[in-house]
Structures are given as C-alpha cells and as structure tokens.
Amino acid sequence: MSWNGLKKAINRAGAQVMLKTGQIESSTDKEFEFEEHRYRAMETTSTKLQRELKHYMESLRLLSNAQINVGESLSSFYGASPSSELGADKSTVKHSELSQLYYDVVKDLSEKCFTDVETPYNQTVLNPVSRFNSYYVEVNEAIKKRARKQIDYDALKSKVKKLIEKPNSSDAEYETKLASAQSDLQESEKTYLALNDQLKDELPKLVNLRIPFLDPSFEAFVKIQLRFFTESYEELNNLQMKLDAKTREDYINGKLDKKVDDVLVKMKELNITG
C-alpha cells in the first residue's frame, strides 16, 4: 500500500467510526441497497448451490461404490474365477456366475457410466455455476470500492458542512480551506456517483442474467441424471433379463423373499444345535 493509500485508509477509518457514532451523516441510496441485497441473496444461494452440486456427485459415487462393494462381496463367495469369460455371450446365467456378473456390471457401471457422467456434469452443471460464482469476486470488489468512496464522500460532506456551519472568519485561510474542501467534495462525489450508478445499472443486469445463464444448467442437470439412471437401468436390466423369467416374476410377486425363507427353514431343519 502506498503512503497515499495508507493515509486514505487511516482517514477513512476515522470517518467510519464517526459515521457509526452518528457524527457524520451517511448518505443512503435505497435503490442501490435494494439491488445489493438481491445480489447478496443470489451470491449466497449460488455459492451454496455450487457446494451441493459437488456433493451430489460425491454421493452418487458413494452409492455406486457401495454397490460395487456388495457385488464384490457376493462374487467373492464364488471365488475368483475369471468371470469375464463366463456367460459373456450366453443369454442365460448359471447362478454361480450371477453374482460375479453382477459384480462386473456394477463395476462397469461405476467405471464406464461414471466417467461418462462426470465430464458432462462438470462441464454443464458444476463449472458454469462456479464460473458464475467467480464473477462475484469482481462485483464484490466494485461494491467495496463504492463503499470506500462513499465514506470519503460522506466525510468530506460533513467537513464542508462543518466549515459552513462554523465560519471561522478569523482564520485567514478559511476561504481557501473551504474552497479546497468543496472541490474535494465535488470530486469525491463525482467518483462515488459514477461507481454508484454503474453498480445500480449493472447489478440488476447481472442478477437478471442469472436466469438464462443457470436455467440451461438445470436442464442439463436433469437430463444428465435421466441419462445416467436410464443407462444404469439398462445395464442392470440386461443382466436381469439373463435370469430366468421365473426369478423376475418371483421378485415382483415377492416370492423371492419366500424362497430365502425356505432356505432358512431348511437350514433350521438340519437341527444344528440339537
């Protein structure tokens, strides 16, 4: 920070304190405040959105990982015979191969579909939102600058006001002081107003552009999910189709559960403990 900048900052700090305590009257601009509030609301939500979108991908990954783990456990019951050779071209599956095929499909799903889904997801959903959020850095800077200029302006305004209210005629330099203060005030008012106007003009523009900018991402978000789940469904369904028709029917009728129960009953009949 330059010497000049430091001096400015110190002055501003003093003025800020005086503003807070009410010694300096602060200028308000309701219109700007409104826009800034809206902008802030957008900023917080879209930042949150970005975070959630990131988490969404992670949770999808967690889910598929859990599926892989289950598949792996199931297939490990049947040993590590190279399942890729099994039933690859066959339309039916022997049950011992089922779990291995299941594992393969789930693994494939996460490897293929997952990498497939990641790129478009990042490109169309996650990155746009974060790009949008990256604009905030600049805008925030502009808003901060405006606030600084406002303090300068307010400080000068009160200074001039004081000079006018308490004319010190005894001071020979009163006139020049007043004049310089007034010119300072004019200059600072000019910069402040320029910034203020720019923000008032452009903030709503940015805020309004959020809709055309983010809506396609939402659409892509939905479509990607549709694609992902449909693909996964098809992959798994292919495997399910290899099962005999009875199994599918049984599942729908809830008979598969009964089958498991039957096994349990048979197990009980072994009378292990007796």
Partner: protein, 638 residues
C-alpha cells in the same frame, strides 16, 4: 494388561513349557501319540474357515445394504432436493428475496406516490420466466415423491434382508459352535488316549491305584469317543447341506439385490423420463427410442443456450469486463478446487465409509460353493501325517523308519533254478504244418487228448502263462497231429486192456469228445493249399483266443475229474519242490511247498508212457473244502 491376566499368561506359559518337556521326554522314551489329524479334520477345518468368512461376508453385505438404504439413497435425494431448492431460490418466482425486502417495496410505493411519472416496480423488473419456475417446482415435487417411495422401499428391503441374513448367520454360528465343540471333544479324546497309552507303557505291573485310574480313563475314553464320533458324524452329514443351503441363500440374495437395484433405477429413470417428457427436455425430433439425449447432445444444447448469456455477462457488464479479462478467459475446472488437506480427509473418510470386504475363501479360485470340496486323503496324509513334513510341529514320532532300518529277509530258497520242464510237443494249430510231429509224438509227455479239443483250467487266472499264448509254436496241444496221438492213446489203452473200467471210461471220454468233432482232421499236406477248406486249422486260427482255449481246457478237466472220481484212484498228494509259475494256458501254477493233489497221472495207466519221470500230470491245488485249481503240472517239480 491386568495383573491377573499376566499371571494367567505366565502359568499358561509354564504349563506349555512343561508340556513340551513332557513331550520331549516322551519322544525320547516311547512312541508319542501325535494328534491324529486326519482328513476329517482337514475337511472340517476347510468348512469352518469358509463358514466363518461367509458369515462376516453376509454381515458386511447387510451393513452395506443398510448404508445404502438409510444413507446413500436418502442422501442422494436430499442433495438433489436441496439443489433444486437453491435453483428455485435463484430462478423461481420469489427468487432472491431477502429479509426486509418488503420495506423496500413499501418505500418504493411511497416514493412512487410522490412521482408524477410512474416507474416500473422492482418486482416487475425481475424478468422471471414462469415456465422455469414451474419446471423447478415440478421437478422438486417429483423428486420428493421419488424420495419417499424409494427410501421407503429400500427401508423395507434392507430390513427384510437384514432379518434373513441375521437368521442365516445364526445358523452359521451354530454350525461353527458345533465344529468347535467337535474339536474340543477330539482334543479331550486324544488327551485321554494319550494318558492311557502312558499308563500302558509302564513296564512294571500297575499299582491298584493306577489300575483304577486306567479303568476310569478307559471308560471315559469310550464315552468321549462316542460323543466325538456322534458329533463328527453329524457334522459330516450336516456340513455339505449347510454349504449348499448357504449357496442357495447367497444366490437368492444376489437375485434380490439385483432386482431391487434394477427396480430402483427403473423407477428413477421413469420418473425423470416422465418429467423430461412433460417439460420437453427430450429430443422428440428423432427416433423415439433414442429420445434420451447423449451426453454430447446435452453438452452442445447447453452450450447453445448458455453462451450468449455468458457473453452478455462478460462483455456488457463492465464491472466484470474491466477488471480481469484474463480471468474470464481461463476455463474453470471445479475438480481441483479443494485443498489437498481436504482431499486427504475425504480420502480417509471415504475409506472408512467404503471399506471393502471380500470373503476370503480357502479355495480362491472356486469359492465356497464348489463341487470339488473334498479332501484328497493321500494329500491330507502327506500334509498332516507325513513324519518328515511337519517334524517340527505337533507331530513328533519318536521313531522314523528309515530305509536302512527296513530289513527284508532274503528268501532262503537260494537255488532258484528249477529243473527243466518236461518237453511239450505239438504246436499243431500253428499255421505251419509240423512234419516232425510224427517223430515227436513218441516222446510226447502230454496226456493224449482228443482231437480238436482244448482243455482248460477253470481256475486258471494267472496271467503269467497267458503271456506267451500267442506264440503258437508252444501250444500244448496239437490237432493236426491228433490222429497220431489218438492212435497212441489207443495203443496205450490196448496195452492196458486189463483195466476194463479205465478202458471203458477212457473210451467214453474219447468218444464223447469225438462226437463233438464237426470237421474231419485235415491231412498235413492240405494245410499249404491255397483253397482253405473249412478246416480245423482255420477254425483253430480263428479261435486261438485265450478264452477259447481256457474254455476247452475247462471241459477237458471236468471230464478228467469225473473220470478220476469214478475210477476212485487213490490220489497222491505231492509237495512241490520248486516254484512253477505256469507257462502255458492250462498250467497250474504253484509255489514251493504247495501241496498238489495229482488227479490224473498217465503213468498210472501206462507205465510206458514217458518213463523217465519227466511228465505232465494233471494236478489240483486245493484250498478250502470244495475249491481247487486244476491244471497241468510238471512231474519233475515234486
């Protein structure tokens, strides 16, 4: 570690030291009983390992399903809903409202009242798109429905699965307990056995106290053995079933999990499909089967829609444009935004969450359920009972039999050279006619045989004499010379005319055999002829199988037995002086010292018949009351 534990550990250590000392002394003095680790143990150990692994595997599957049900799916939907909520806050009708926004509207209204020219209300300046809002809201409501349904379904699915897996695991635990019990019983049994053997080894007569101890031990040994075998048998019968049921169980569980997953994916896909169709997100122009856009299409569509807006933002909003144009041009990649520390943390937590679990089966290749689950007894023996392989382990045989230790007493019958066999003659059924036969026939030691007849030993099972069966030259019996043999026999019979009975019987034998003749014997000279008539030669060639010969011998011997029975000759019983392995079909093999009953000796009929004691007799070696083997034996072997 607590003091008590330490103490316990120490005493355990002490006892184990003592044990080894004992066992060492045992190995020095006596044959120590090693744990009889047999194939049952091997098999049951195998099952035990697999079962316990299967148990943990099932528990893991249950826990993963629970996680998926309670956390993963729910989280996925929750996040999705939250994302939509944010979208709604950003893009919806009431978007970007903030606390106290009404004050501003109120102020605006007041301000508006003082102005003459009406201004656009800030609410109206928001450029909201109604359809976007409805999209978002619809999406959210369908998501909520989906969430409700799927989490409920998964909850039920998980609960039922867990119930069943717990049940299954209980059974497996029971089985494992039973195995444990069996092993314990076995140890007890072996311990008792060991104690008994120790007592037994005492050379001095046992004291009464010790005798009592022995008796009790023996009774408890019996008891333990009974228990052990009971459990062991039960396990052996149960375990394969347990495994097969487990197989079925896992199979069905796999099916359930698969079906559940398919169902869930289907539901989500359908829900999204419905939503997308409703809001026209789908590519309806093309093939109806291909209406779900590929990722590339999605990207290009998105780019198409979003690029103008991006340009607008970046070039018309000077705050952004003026500041850092270079920042705008850089591509934003969300991937590497998280700090390495956070990544690390994520990795660790992920590892905890996604901890893998595989069932490490004994048989890595074939898993638990395979049909090959059996123990090769030989292998088990080699692994567990082979004195050399695990010499340092629990098995300490005090005496390992070395090759040098084995003394095989040499057979004392040093002169192995047996006397020369009596000559055999007549290999007539060879394709070559034997012109010398006529000369030979006088020396023929063989019993006269009916022509065309082959005579067999029914019990002739020694293969050693069969080896040379195809070397026709040495076949016992001829047929081309049979006519001369016949005359010889007739001569013999004539000489023995006094023995009427014999004569009669022999004649009978002879004639009955003759009656079987189907073809006349061919003169030798014909044998060389090109046109082979259906001669005996040919028949013979065709039927020179061992079986055939044996069959014929059999018939012959039957007759001989009948004959000798009827003649009531006193049968001599001779003791063999040498081994005779038997050379030709029809020979009776015997060992030195075997008692051979001579059934028929042609010498007894005709003393002229080969009187140099070199002769072929028909002997029988008896074993048991009614069983005997019959065949030709060389007379000079006795």
């Amino acid at each position: 570690m607590s003091v008590g534990k330490l103490k316990k550990g120490l005493t355990e250590f002490g006892s184990s030291v003592k044990d080894t000392v004992v066992s060492v002394s045992d190995t020095v003095t006596t044959v120590r009983i090693h744990r009889d680790y047999d194939k049952d143990d091997e098999l049951i150990e195998h099952y035990k390992h697999d079962l316990s692994k299967a148990k943990s595997g099932l528990s893991y599957i249950a826990s993963q399903q629970k996680k998926m049900a309670s956390s993963h799916w729910g989280k996925l939907f929750k996040l999705n809903i939250r994302i939509v909520e944010h979208f709604i806050q950003l893009l919806g009708t009431d978007s970007l409202s903030f606390k106290g926004i009404e004050d501003y509207y109120h102020d605006f209204d007041k301000f508006q009242a003082t102005e003459e020219i009406p201004m656009v209300h800030p609410k109206e300046r928001q450029f909201l798109i109604e359809s976007v809002h409805s999209e978002l809201v619809n999406y959210m409501s369908s998501l909520q429905q989906g969430k409700f349904k799927i989490t409920q379904d998964w909850d039920i699915h998980e609960k039922s699965l867990k119930l069943r897996i717990t049940e299954m695991n209980k059974h497996i635990s029971d089985t494992l307990k039973l195995i444990k019990k069996r092993n314990k019983k076995k140890t007890n049994y072996i311990k008792t056995e060991h104690k008994i053997s120790k007592l037994m080894k005492k050379t001095a007569p046992l004291e009464t106290k010790e005798q009592d101890q022995l008796n009790t031990l023996e009774s408890s040994l019996k008891e333990e053995e009974k228990e052990y075998t009971k459990i062991n048998d039960k396990l052996k019968s149960i375990l394969p079933h347990v495994i097969s049921f487990l197989d079925e169980f896992v199979e069905n569980i796999t099916k359930i999990i698969l079906c559940k997953q398919v169902e869930t994916y289907k539901e989500i896909a359908q829900m999204l499909d419905y939503f997308c169709t409703f809001h026209g997100f789908l590519d309806t122009s093309g093939d109806p089967h291909n209406k779900i856009q590929s990722y590339e299409d999605i990207i290009s569509k998105w780019e198409e829609a979003t690029t103008p807006t991006r340009l607008q933002i970046e070039s018309f909003i000077s705050i952004i444009y003026d500041k850092k144009p270079e920042l705008i041009d850089t591509e934003i990649d969300e991937k590497d935004k998280t700090s390495s520390a956070a990544k690390m943390w994520n990795k660790i937590t992920d590892k905890v969450v996604e901890k893998k679990h595989t069932v490490k089966t004994k048989d890595h290749v074939n898993g638990i359920f395979n049909d090959y689950l059996s123990v090769d007894p030989l292998q088990a023996f080699l692994q567990n009972n082979d004195p050399n392989s695990n010499i340092s382990e629990t098995y300490h045989p005090s005496k390992v039999v070395d090759v040098d230790d084995v003394y095989i007493p040499k057979p004392v019958t040093a002169p192995v050279i047996s006397p020369k066999l009596p000559p055999r003659v007549n290999t007539a059924h060879s394709s070559k006619p034997l012109p010398t036969v006529a000369a030979n026939k006088v020396t023929t030691p063989l019993p006269p045989l009916p022509p065309d007849r082959f005579v067999y030993n029914s019990n002739f099972s020694r293969s050693d004499s069969l080896d040379s069966i195809h070397s026709d030259n040495e076949s016992i019996i001829s047929d081309s010379s049979s006519h001369s043999t016949t005359s010889l026999v007739s001569d013999i019979l004539l000489h023995n005319a006094s023995a009427d009975v014999v004569n009669k019987h022999l004649k009978k034998v002879y004639n009955s055999s003759k009656n079987d003749i189907k073809y006349s014997p061919i003169p030798e000279r014909f044998a060389d002829l090109d046109i082979p008539p259906a001669t005996d030669d040919l028949i013979f060639q065709k039927t020179t199988t061992v079986t055939y010969k044996l069959h014929e011998f059999n018939k012959f011997f039957d007759k001989i037995i009948a004959l000798s029975d009827s003649m009531q000759l006193d049968r001599r019983v001779l003791e063999a002086k040498y081994d005779f392995p038997g050379i030709e079909p029809g020979d009776l093999s015997f060992k030195t010292g075997d008692k051979i009953e001579i059934i028929f000796d042609f010498q007894s009929i005709d003393t002229l018949y080969s009187n140099d004691q070199k002769n072929w007799l028909i002997g029988a070696s008896k074993f048991g009351q009614d069983h005997f083997r019959i065949g030709f034996v060389p007379s000079n072997y006795f």
